[in-house]
């Protein structure tokens, strides 16, 4: 058991001896409304560099909305988002991506008209710098850049063990592989913060083990900070360093998996004890 308290800004060491860095993302008093519905109510938590942070909670708690706030897709009516030590001004989602935040989606959002390779290549778009004129002529700069990025993408394809399907149209792939390709697309951006929205949804035990291994490897090899929404408690306990628990838009728990799961409020939320 490590001696964690909520929301410290300095790094810490996990149970298994990994060194976690300082805060890279802080959500401060976020409130998000859709008309009359309050999706997120005054939630604050932080994410440390290099850690695996799980966001859990019953359905409808507002978890995906929180991820959308982090991606810049939804703009909270109140509260601040701090990234890399600086307050983030209201930004368009593509600008957020440029800052180094990549994500996967709850309902797979791959580009169905393209192959696996092309989909993962789109993850490199924030790093492709040749101007349109050079691209129109192709030979020279554009061709070289294309090759460079292709090399990088092939590394990711090797890492995720999807070489055989690189030229297959993603629409034809089974669900589990599509999820893996989507992970590849997010990884291709070499993000500082990787957001995973229910990466294990709809998978069987084997597939979950594979996906868990990939997630741990990403964190291990590339040092990527990961925030993930997940329903499978076993996975949460196993792979995450710290957990945030949400219910009806409010935060009801924040700490290590063990701490959080011992919390009575959290247990009540999952068992469906009625709220006022």
């Amino acid at each position: 058991m490590n001696t964690m308290t909520e929301n410290t800004t300095v790094g810490y060491v996990t149970d298994d001896g990994r060194q976690i860095g300082g805060t890279i993302m802080e959500m401060k008093n976020i409130t998000l409304r859709f008309g009359g519905v309050v999706a997120i109510e005054d939630i604050s938590f932080d994410i440390h560099e290099g850690e695996i942070r799980a966001i859990i909670g019953p359905n409808g708690a507002g978890k995906s909305s929180m991820l959308n706030v982090i991606s810049g897709f939804y703009h909270p009516q109140e509260g601040e988002v701090w990234f890399n030590g600086a307050k983030r001004p209201p930004m368009k989602p593509f600008e957020v991506a440029g800052q180094g935040i990549a994500r996967t989606f709850q309902n797979i959002a791959l580009f169905k008209g393209m192959t696996t390779l092309d989909n993962i290549m789109t993850g490199r778009l924030t790093r492709m710098k040749t101007g349109m004129l050079s691209q129109a002529i192709w030979w020279g700069k554009a061709a070289r850049e294309e090759e460079e990025h292709r090399r990088k993408v092939e590394e990711i394809i090797d890492f995720l063990e999807i070489q055989a399907i690189r030229k297959t149209s993603v629409g034809r792939l089974p669900y589990g592989l599509q999820k893996r390709v989507e992970l590849g697309r997010a990884l291709a951006a070499e993000p500082k913060l990787l957001l995973l929205d229910e990466p294990m949804a709809g998978m069987n035990v084997e597939e979950k083990e594979d996906m868990s291994r990939f997630i741990l490897d990403v964190n291990d090899e590339f040092g990527t900070t990961i925030a993930l929404i997940e329903h499978d408690m076993g996975v949460v306990m196993d792979i995450s360093d710290r957990v945030v628990v949400m219910d009806y838009g409010k935060k009801i728990g924040d700490g290590t998996p063990a701490e959080v799961l011992a919390n009575q409020e959290v247990i009540d939320a999952y068992l469906g004890v009625s709220h006022d």
Binding site: S64, F73, Q106
Partner: protein, 332 residues
């Protein structure tokens, strides 16, 4: 108040009338879009085809006469009989129902899960097909459509409003046909709204418009609904065809009204029946008033060709769902 002002009011009133005529065509679109999510570009051509068939039946034309003559070297054009207007209208309604049935069978059934853009383009293909087919069947010459609707400036209105503008003003010139069309349109809309809200079929229609899969799972036959909807749309097309055809004759340009209906739909929202009326009125008035106040004096006229679209475009930029449409919430 000067005669000038009253002329302006007259333009306004005529704009309302024109708007009602647009709404008649827009109604057909809304019905089909509501029930199948398809934007039926062929609605205008359906109005043209319905009108042609009506005239053809009324005057006893031989269908496909040009084709027959060309292939067999004959010179036949008419059977020699004539049908009373109401009988011809009834028969045309049957033809439109048959048309709806065929469209569902041959086209819609095969395109069930495609994206809206593909469905839209299929209706463009359908429009071209029906255009050529109608011309082959009844000939492309301009025909006079007369089902007995009185036309010409309404004398009663003129006489009773002549007092308004002083000596230079002779009373509002409103075409009787337009007045009748307005009444018909209102009755039609009211009927359709009541039908969709209070009858079993109407409810089924609304279910289908919402979610095909869910509607299927509660036992609604998608195909039957589509045939019903396209038949109603065909009937609406016939009414529109009669009104427009009586006014300007049955000719190719009738199908171009479909294009005018588009800005109406943008304003009123694609899924709202009352919206089609309100949108039509706004476009009708907007067009005529713009031409009267700015187009004719300063821009050389004929602004009616494009004003409706620019108006709709500006509107859309600020309110993408139209006046009555449902707000689109994007989800990821």
């Amino acid at each position: 108040m000067s005669a000038e002002f009253y002329y302006g009011v007259e333009v306004f009133l005529n704009g309302l009338m024109a708007g009602v005529m647009y709404s008649l065509v827009a109604l057909g679109f809304v019905l089909i879009f509501k029930a199948s999510g398809i934007f039926n570009y062929a609605q205008g051509v359906m109005a043209l085809f319905a009108a042609m068939t009506l005239v053809g039946l009324q005057t006893g034309q031989v269908p496909f006469s040009h084709l027959i003559n060309a292939t067999f070297g004959l010179h036949i054009t008419h059977f020699g009989w004539e049908l009373p207007a109401l009988v011809a209208i009834f028969l045309t309604v049957l033809v439109m129902i048959l048309f709806a049935f065929l469209v569902e069978r041959l086209v819609l059934k095969h395109l069930v899960n495609q994206e809206p853009i593909i469905l839209f383009m299929a209706t463009i293909g359908l429009a071209y097909f029906m255009e050529g087919f109608g011309d082959l069947m009844w000939g492309s010459d301009i025909k006079k459509l007369d089902v007995g609707i009185p036309q010409g400036g309404n004398v009663w209105v003129e006489n009773h409003t002549a007092f308004l503008g002083g000596d230079d003003f002779y009373g509002f010139y409103l075409d009787t046909l337009d007045i009748i069309a307005a009444v018909v349109a209102i009755v039609l809309v009211a009927t359709l709204v009541l039908f969709s809200q209070y009858t079993k079929t109407g409810r089924a229609l609304r279910a289908v418009a919402d979610d095909h899969q869910a509607a299927l799972s509660v036992g609604i036959s998608l195909r039957t609904i589509w045939v019903i909807v396209w038949s109603i749309a065909g009937f609406v097309a016939l009414v529109a065809g009669i009104m427009w055809g009586s006014k300007s004759g049955v000719q190719f340009s009738l199908s171009l009204i479909a294009l005018k209906a588009l800005p109406v739909l943008m304003l009123g929202g694609f899924t709202s029946i009352p919206g089609a009326i309100v949108g039509g009125l706004i476009i009708g008035v907007g067009e005529k008033m713009f031409e009267f106040l700015i187009g004719a004096p300063y821009l050389g006229g004929a602004t009616e060709n494009w004003f409706a679209y620019v108006l709709a475009l500006l509107f859309l930029v600020f309110r993408p769902q139209g006046l009555f449409g449902e707000k689109i919430i994007e989800r990821v």
